[in-house]
């Protein structure tokens, strides 16, 4: 026996490469495509102040193998740096902070390149931006010189470079993504259970035939066959049965579905040794989720309704495929089938047959969408794999920063901030009574008040916040946040910087790999209560 099996052994296979082994735990999250994107990324950190949060972020990007980074930081290492920044040591004292940090970060991963600035006294940020290869993302930490912001913004406009502003002080931190226009993500990695789309209410002909053939003499099947009918087959069969006694309508209300579930449950055989049937249990458990007519998820509707804002967008693969999928949806009344089939009790060959029916249909849908893509000008060069990925994820495709941001002038940004702040503070009145957690917007405001200065007193912070919230001094949360920020005097706590650096690195990875869903657009962290809030500001 062993000999026969041994002779059937496939040829000796090459195990994973050294690099695949090193990156194994992350390749399981973002695959080779995500890794390739990381490895071709070039990140700039413009560092300032206590200087730790940006370095901790870089650590979390150097380890997974970002292509290259540059640090611009004009500070010289002093004693206080050594108490908060892990990527400095005794030898660093008196040297440029950007240099020392770069050298110690590069030790973490020999595959990463890094450089530091300014090397001479006269090297400016402006000349660095002009002379360097294009940056994929620019991060800067507060306090930041106000004139730098204009540099970043014009660079971002010109090269469509995302910006990340980071601020960490004492127990508090916040960071904000500025994406240069609408940012669509196809590979959002939804939970596996959310991607199941079985179409049992309106099976296409091949699926319907398959199911009806299997269940045609369901009562005559022996216990083994009966107990191995896949639950998809059972659902289609019992929906048919239901429709016959309900004017050809499927169970649609919650009450109907409960009744339908009972119908399925009572059809299970209980006289067998197991006293029940697993496949019927699975069918009953799937009723509420599987008996849902096709609908357009709100995220996708937003994409269908979106008008590309410039020629670049119009000719991008994403928007061309989106418009082809929209046509598909309009014509078919449903999205392309994702094509995956969850595991279910069934005989092996039956399950595989069923799996192939779903896969075939998914491929047909992809082909239909691809045909439409090809008919669109600039659609002829689009990679079919991109179309396939879109179709597979269609229900979960997401658009971040849909309104673009860049088109808005400062006054409207300030207007939006005021609106959100007012709303948050008004909500707090109810939250207090309901013992719910309060908004973290006061923390954001207090941090913002010191965005361009090394430190400020609580009174100064409140005076600054009062420009957005006129009665800031009377608001208890704002007053406390201002005191807490003042307490730090612009200093960082290593833990809060490390925690924030972890969150920012996650966001960077999401933006660079275009996988998972980034924040839209501001995250505030409260290290006293250990929680975050994301707001669109």
């Amino acid at each position: 026996m062993t000999e026969i099996v041994a002779s059937q052994m496939p040829p000796i296979l090459h195990g994973p490469s050294e690099k695949e082994r090193k990156y194994d735990r992350q390749l399981r999250l973002w695959a080779a495509s995500g890794q390739a994107a990381l490895e071709s990324a070039n990140i700039l950190l413009v560092n300032s102040g206590a200087g730790t949060v940006g370095v901790e972020t870089l650590k979390n990007l150097v380890l997974p193998g970002i292509g290259r980074f540059a640090i611009y930081d004009d500070r010289v290492v002093d004693e206080a740096d050594l108490g908060v920044n892990f990527f400095l040591d005794e030898d660093s004292l008196g040297k440029p902070r950007s240099q020392c940090v770069t050298e110690l970060l590069l030790e973490l991963n020999p595959e990463v390149q890094g450089d530091w600035y300014p090397k001479e006294d006269d090297a400016t940020l402006e000349s660095l931006l002009a002379a360097s290869p294009m940056f994929t993302v620019i991060m800067y930490t507060n306090p930041v010189r106000a004139e730098y912001i204009h540099l970043f913004e014009s660079y971002s406009r010109q090269h469509k470079t995302p910006l990340v502003a980071i601020h960490s002080a004492g127990f508090y931190s916040s960071f904000q993504l500025h994406l240069p226009g609408a940012f669509p993500i196809v590979d959002t990695h939804p939970d596996e259970t959310a991607t199941t789309d079985l179409r049992v209410l309106s099976p296409w002909s091949e699926l319907g035939e398959f199911a009806r053939n299997m269940a045609i003499d369901i009562d005559k099947l022996d216990d083994h066959e009966h107990g191995h009918l896949p639950y998809v087959v059972l659902l289609i069969h019992f929906i048919d049965q239901w429709k016959r006694s309900h004017r050809n309508e499927y169970p649609s209300t919650y009450k109907d579905k409960l009744e339908f579930r009972r119908l399925v449950q009572t059809a299970a055989r209980t006289g067998n040794p197991e006293g029940g049937e697993e496949n019927f249990d699975e069918a009953a458990a799937a009723v509420l989720k599987a008996l849902v007519p096709p609908s357009l998820p709100s995220g996708l509707k937003e994409i269908f309704d979106y008008q590309p804002k410039d020629p670049d967008e119009e000719s991008s693969g994403f928007w061309i495929i989106a418009s082809a999928v929209k046509d598909f949806y309009t014509e078919n009344g449903c999205l392309p089938l994702p094509g995956n089939l969850p595991d279910m009790k069934a005989k092996s060959y039956v399950y595989i047959q069923l799996q192939n029916i779903y896969k075939r249909k998914a491929r047909e849908d992809v082909a239909q969408v691809l045909g439409r893509v090809r008919a669109i000008p600039a659609g002829e060069h689009i990679d079919p794999a991109e179309v396939e990925l879109f179709c597979k994820n269609a229900a979960h495709v997401k658009l971040i920063n849909a309104t673009g941001g860049k088109a808005e002038v400062d006054t409207s940004l300030a207007g939006r901030l005021k609106k959100v702040v007012d709303q948050e503070l008004a909500n707090d009145e109810f939250a207090k009574e309901a013992m719910m957690p309060l908004s973290l917007v006061p923390i954001y405001l207090a941090l913002q008040a010191t965005a361009h200065v090394a430190s400020a007193s609580a009174q100064e912070i409140i005076a600054e916040v009062a420009k957005v919230v006129p009665d800031a001094a009377q608001n208890e949360s704002i007053a406390s946040a201002a005191q807490e920020v003042a307490r730090a005097e612009g200093g960082e706590l290593h833990n809060v910087a490390a925690l924030t650096g972890g969150m920012v690195a996650q966001e960077m990875i999401k933006i660079i790999t275009k996988q998972y869903i980034p924040i839209d657009n501001t995250c505030i962290f409260d290290g006293i209560n250990s929680r975050c809030q994301v707001l669109r500001l």
Binding site: Q8, I12, P16, E18, E20, R21, K22, D24, R25, Q26, L27, R28, L29, K59, N60, L63, P64, E79, A80, G83, V84, F86, D89, E107, N109, P110, F171, H189, A346, S348, Y351, I352, P437, A458, A479, Q483, E484, A486, R487, A488, L493, H494, N495, V496, L499, G502, A505, Q506, Y516, I517, P518, D520, C523, G527, I528, N529, S530, R531, C532, V534
Partner: protein, 432 residues
């Protein structure tokens, strides 16, 4: 506020930023807080870090930069190449060395004045006298079993008369872009055992699926792992870190998959299933370890309220879809087998054999016991060891609970070698 006095540590210039926070009153510090004592108290405190892996490396760095001076770290593992994408205290040349030792040395060298003592062993190798020396324990583990062990140990060490016997436990865990940080004050707050059902094990694939009706690539891999390996024993003992062994399983799984036309068996999936690999990245470790150490600093200094008591004790973090945290209070359970004193209700079918009951403990989210021994009020039902007792009690496995004379409402005690100190008390409730 900003002019309040700073009480410096031994190197005031170095700890300037930290001292502003830990030695000055803020709007949320409690009345009892004494800023003049903090720096010195923290320098004299002994803190134990369990695990020197992804979280552990971060935790050691964070504690060293939070003003702790006397840190111990315990980990039995050696460094593997797949650690290097996040365990930033290790380099290629360290592969094969003990994690605790390399990590301790690195942080000691980088952060002047901190003393880190490594222990290259299992947590179970240390006794209560060892754990009693510490004022605070921070865990960065990847195994639920080890967490439960240290949790039970710390709960059992509590002596109401002795204030020093209460050791706060801070625990972190991650998976991909998600994680959690929690604070436990043994016997006072909800403990890890109380929270066990928040981390339910993945349901095992039934053996009959593996043996006769595989449908998924995972079924083929598990078949190779559980059935083919035992039958053919290609190597004396399965070493999940040996690529030759994994390759053998992979090839076996591949043949099985071809036989049933099942797509999707790869080397990487084989390794993932066999080793139960959880994806891990530096960024998430950074978030969770820092959340834990932030609590350690607050507990050690009282410079701000910490998680734990009386309110929230658990922070859940998710970064897959935007960023979401949920910080809440997990309630202590009176019927917790470790920190409660009531027996927990256990719904059973009186027609089950004892064997079925024994096997059911592994899958129950609130029990998760792989090798349970069971005693009833008046007699021993089944003992896994020693061998003589096992043999004596083995015939009971075939009897139904009713035949064994067990009655509704009866209490049984369950022990498991993984948690030697704990007896799980259950009260039987018969299924209708």
């Amino acid at each position: 506020m900003a002019s309040a006095q700073v009480y410096p540590a031994s190197e005031p210039a170095r700890w300037k930023y930290l001292d502003r926070i830990r030695t000055r009153r803020g709007p949320y510090t409690t009345e009892a807080y004494d800023p003049s004592m903090v720096a010195e108290a923290m320098e004299n405190m002994m803190i134990l870090v369990i695990g020197a892996g992804g979280l552990g490396c971060e935790i050691l760095k964070n504690l060293a930069l939070s003003g702790f001076k006397n840190i111990h770290v315990i980990d039995m593992d050696t460094i593997d190449i797949s650690n290097l994408n996040r365990q930033f205290l290790f380099r290629q040349a360290d592969v094969g060395s003990f994690k605790a030792e390399v990590a301790a040395k690195f942080v000691e060298k980088r952060v002047k004045g901190v003393k880190i003592t490594p222990h290259n062993c299992k947590i179970q190798d240390k006794d209560e006298d060892f754990y009693m020396k510490f004022q605070l324990v921070v865990c960065g583990l990847d195994s639920i079993e080890a967490r439960r062990w240290i949790n039970a140990t710390l709960v059992n060490m509590v002596d109401e008369e002795v204030e020093d016997s209460y050791k706060p436990l801070i625990d972190g865990g991650t998976e991909g872009f998600k994680g959690q940080a929690r604070v436990i004050f043994p016997t006072i707050t909800s403990c890890i055992e109380c929270q066990l059902d928040m981390h339910a094990p993945r349901p095992a694939v039934p053996l009959c699926t593996l043996a006769s009706i595989p449908r998924q690539p995972e079924h083929c891999i598990e078949w190779a792992h559980v059935i083919a390996w035992d039958k053919e024993k290609p190597f004396p003992k399965l070493d999940k870190d040996d690529s030759e062994h994994i390759t053998w399983l992979y090839q076996k799984a591949l043949i099985r998959a071809r036989e049933f036309n099942i797509p999707g068996v790869t080397y990487s999936l084989t390794q993932g299933v066999v080793k139960n690999i959880i994806p891990a990245i530096a960024a998430t470790n950074s978030v969770i370890a820092a959340a834990c150490c932030n609590e350690a600093l607050k507990i050690a200094s009282s410079c701000a309220p910490s998680l734990g008591y009386p309110d929230n004790n658990y922070m859940m973090y998710s970064g897959n879809d935007s960023i979401y945290t949920y910080t809440f209070k997990h309630e202590k359970k009176d019927d917790c087998p470790v920190c409660g004193n009531l027996a927990r209700e256990l719904v059973v079918d009186p027609e089950w054999t004892l064997c079925e009951l024994v096997e059911s403990f592994a899958a129950r989210p609130e029990a998760q016991l792989k090798k349970p021994s069971i005693r009833a009020e008046s007699k021993t039902l089944y003992m896994q060891s020693p061998a003589s007792l096992e043999e004596q009690t083995r015939p009971n496995l075939k009897k139904t609970l009713r035949e064994l004379g067990l009655a509704e409402g009866e209490e049984i005690g369950v022990t498991d070698p993984a948690f030697a100190t704990v007896s799980f008390k259950f009260k039987l409730k018969f299924k209708q």
